[in-house]
Amino acid sequence: MAINLRRSEAVIREKRLKSVVGYQGSIKDLANKSQSGCLKNARRGFSQAANCSSGCAQGHLSTILDAAVVNHAPIGCAADVIGANTGFRWGQNIRNWEKRNVRIINTNMTESATVFGGGKLLKEGIREAYRRFNPKAIFVTTSCASGIIGDDVESILREEEEDLGIPVVPVFCEGFRSQIWATGFDAVFHALLTRIVKPPEKKRPEMVNVINFTASAREYVKEMFAELGLVPQFGIPYSTIDQISRMSEAGATISICGTLGGYFGNGLEQKFGVPYVTTLQPHGISGIDNWLRNLGKVLGKEKEVEDYIAKQKILIKPELDEIKSKLKGKRVVVGMGPSFSHNYIRLLEDFGMEVVWGMAWHFDPQHDHGGLPHCTMELAKKERDIPASVSDQQNHEVLNLLNKLKPDIYIGRHPGLSVWATKMGIPTIMVSDEYSAFGYKGTIDFGYRIIDVLTNNSFARNLSKRIKLPYTDWWFEQEPFIFLDDEELKKNAASS
């Protein structure tokens, strides 16, 4: 199904992709149900604090270098901004830039705004953002409060845009609209596709849009692409409005993460004919092979890709063999966003580890190109089926599972969960850098990182002995999914 770029607002993932946050079963079952269109979301009778799309939207928008963001909301909705700012400093630091703060203004909606409307505050916020930052574009993020009281954001923005002469663009990301925080990325990309990206003035076939976050491995990617005669253009973070507006000129778009880049990549293809490379993620050896091969296929660089891959494989073989010999048979649980989760499962299995459970923080039964995500399809083809579940980081479920599975190591992504595995005494890795395990070198580095974590677990071991988890004994005696309103589970329970 094509992305609807005529609307002012991205359709949420639950409706657009039939995405879910509640599921338990296995990878093969998940793939089957997805492909036959019968994957259903199961709600939970108990839930814990998750995340919302506004956080993802603001975090991403605030890294556009010459834009400003106006968050039309009570002050608490800007409480994530200091996190974005710290990330932004990290990104500036690895680029050796002079550091500055992100440019976000919150309209500070109070009780009277919820009664009499927040239009005046919104205008004031836009004017202040313009005065303080002199931006090339202003993005306005909405909130639960502004959404429910029904502020007419679009017409206010149209008026301001006329007066200011720069794009003033709504980014609809009310937290209650979607249970999937990645919807916030779609909201950003929708705003960029509809209002910022311009038709190409000239085509630059050697240029490849690389959709990512902080882009720590820029030099490695540049070096890799140079061998293929290609030039990466990283985005959206640390790009300017002008650079983003010309992403339509690129020869192709590729992403470090299917969940992140799918909307923008497919949107660029649909609107401007820039091919989006659908592929495995470049994590692990088979991942990077596939990433480069599919890129090469789209841009006619097959031979260069094969030469490069062959060279790299020879280079890494001794270290890869050592890693495999040390990690063979280690039992691992993975908990990440869906694309990272299903790609890391493959990479860990390739190391010879046994993935005993794979959790994803939501699941898209299809991406915007219309098919099952490649990483899931690839896993479903393997002989061994892997137990899997989907939850929006539901802590009670995760801890119950970990307590029953007792893995040798937990590998997670997304802040806020790794610590809980550590509290249980489990060696834990949190993959915060999207270029961790990237490419040949990165995969090797990641292998040694796992070995290091398994070598000294004193921190987790000692911590787990001295702290109490916040769950009752009753809960740890239950099956992990009893709160999941899942028809099959109920049937099984009834027949047993």
Binding site: F46, A49, G55, A73, C77, N106, T114
Partner: protein
């Protein structure tokens, strides 16, 4: 001045769930959208001295993750279900239901739902804390009020010498846990028995003893005044309001004398404590003086950009004890209008008739503009949050983070309170100076 805010220093009312988490084994139950918790603990916890989730914080907090369904059709059923299951799943002593914008705008009857559980004997209270209603500092007061109104029972008898201490707002004030330890130490040093519900040795037992106290000691410019008044009204417990956080020998001595006088402790006891502590303090300070004075590097003037409690405590110490001069003092805690005059008056009460100009604003962008306008004749000391790193560099200030969000330091048991705390503050300030050119 526009109402908008940039570079926020406190969050919305719902952020007071961190005050619940600061009571050992107390559990917040959030009835709000899916992202409220995670956003709020970013400013109050993760990016604020690296304060983490603790026992039942972070993604462990029960939350309804309100969706379109709850907004359109009401969220009462969902809330009832999540509360009911929380009692089975989470091991806690006290549960506090807190609402966000969605519930408060839609109008879920959270009071009625909570009262049903209360009637079953469950230790549960509620507040309506929609983000648009105010700040987390006001929310902190509401949480304590709710506990007083809906949970605490009158004491059979008053325990002489038992003092409840109410002061810093947990998590909002980055150094709260260490500060509580220091305050308890100070109060017990003159023979009283401190009782604090927050921190590592607080909890439900401390909470249950609140009505038994001889008096309530409020150390804060304004946060908590409502609570001690309510405790007086409900349990007849008198209170002593001491506005300044005691940092450094001058203020701490004054604090100890005031508390002793209020509680009827003889001055000889207090004077002996003060003398002993001052001897220790000046033993160290005498040795520090060489470097501070002879390297030409000690800043002369300082700006604080902080909650009223820290701005006041720190400016008293730097002015009365370290001999620095206050420039503008920015109060960023959203001090309600009714308190602004009394808070400002405290900044006109320094040694040598020194007065400081106070500016009440929670807009960091405005603060930044003001800082750039001040003509400093030497490198100033900028005591603010992690947000000020950029502007401090631009105006050649020495920067130390002491207020939310402290995103550039880890704070565990550190405190700047009392005698020992002021030595740590001196160490930290002078280390910034030394670090700057090396």
């Amino acid at each position: 001045m526009p109402q908008v805010v940039e570079q926020i220093r406190h969050v919305c009312m719902l952020g007071a769930f961190e005050s619940v988490l600061a009571i050992k084994r107390a559990v917040p139950i959030i009835h709000a959208g899916p992202g409220c918790g995670a956003k709020l603990w970013t400013t109050l916890g993760m990016q604020n001295g690296c304060q983490g989730s603790g026992y039942v914080g972070g993604h462990a907090i029960p939350c309804t993750n309100a969706s379109e369904q709850e907004v359109v059709f009401g969220g009462s059923d969902r809330l009832r279900e999540v509360i009911g299951n929380t009692f089975d799943v989470i091991d806690g002593d006290l549960f506090v239901v807190m609402t966000g914008c969605t519930s408060d705008i839609v109008g879920d009857d959270v009071g009625e739902i909570t009262r049903k559980f209360q009637r079953q004997g469950k230790p549960i209270v509620y507040i309506e804390s929609g983000g648009f209603k105010g700040s987390n500092l006001e929310g902190h007061e509401l949480v304590i009020d709710a506990i007083i109104d809906q949970y605490l029972k009158p004491a059979k008898e008053v325990e002489k010498g038992l003092v409840n201490i109410w002061s810093i707002v947990p998590y909002q004030n980055t150094f709260w846990s260490g500060d509580i330890e220091q305050l308890k130490g100070l109060v017990s040093s003159i023979g009283l028995k401190p009782n604090v519900i927050f921190g590592y040795d607080g909890g439900i037992e401390a909470l249950n003893k609140v009505p038994e106290a001889q008096f309530n000691l409020l150390i804060s410019p304004w946060v908590g005044l409502k609570n001690v008044k309510k405790l007086e009204e409900k349990f007849g417990t008198p209170y002593l309001h001491y506005p300044a956080l005691p940092i450094g020998p001058t203020e701490t001595a004054k604090f100890l004398r005031t508390v002793a006088e209020f509680s009827g402790i003889s001055s000889s006891v207090v004077e002996e404590v003060i003398q002993r502590q001052e001897e220790r303090y000046y033993y160290y300070l005498e040795r520090a003086a060489d470097n501070m004075l002879e390297t030409r590097l000690l800043p002369r003037r300082f700006v604080t950009i902080a909650d009223s409690i820290y701005a006041l405590g720190i400016s008293r110490f730097l002015t009365n004890d370290l001999g620095l001069i206050p420039e503008k003092q920015f109060i960023t805690d959203g001090t309600p209008l009714e308190y602004q005059n009394s808070v400002a008056a405290e900044f006109r009460n320094f040694t040598d008739d020194i007065v400081a100009e106070t500016v009440f604003t929670n807009d960091g962008g405005f603060v930044e503009e003001e800082l750039r306008k001040i003509k400093f004749r030497s490198r100033p000391l900028i005591l603010g949050s992690g947000w000020e790193r950029v502007v401090s560099k631009d105006i050649k200030g020495y920067h130390l983070s002491i207020a939310t969000p402290v995103c550039d330091h880890m704070v565990l048991s550190k405190s700047y309170v009392g005698y020992d705390g002021s030595l740590h503050l001196t160490e930290d300030i002078y280390s910034v100076v030394l670090d700057d050119f090396q």
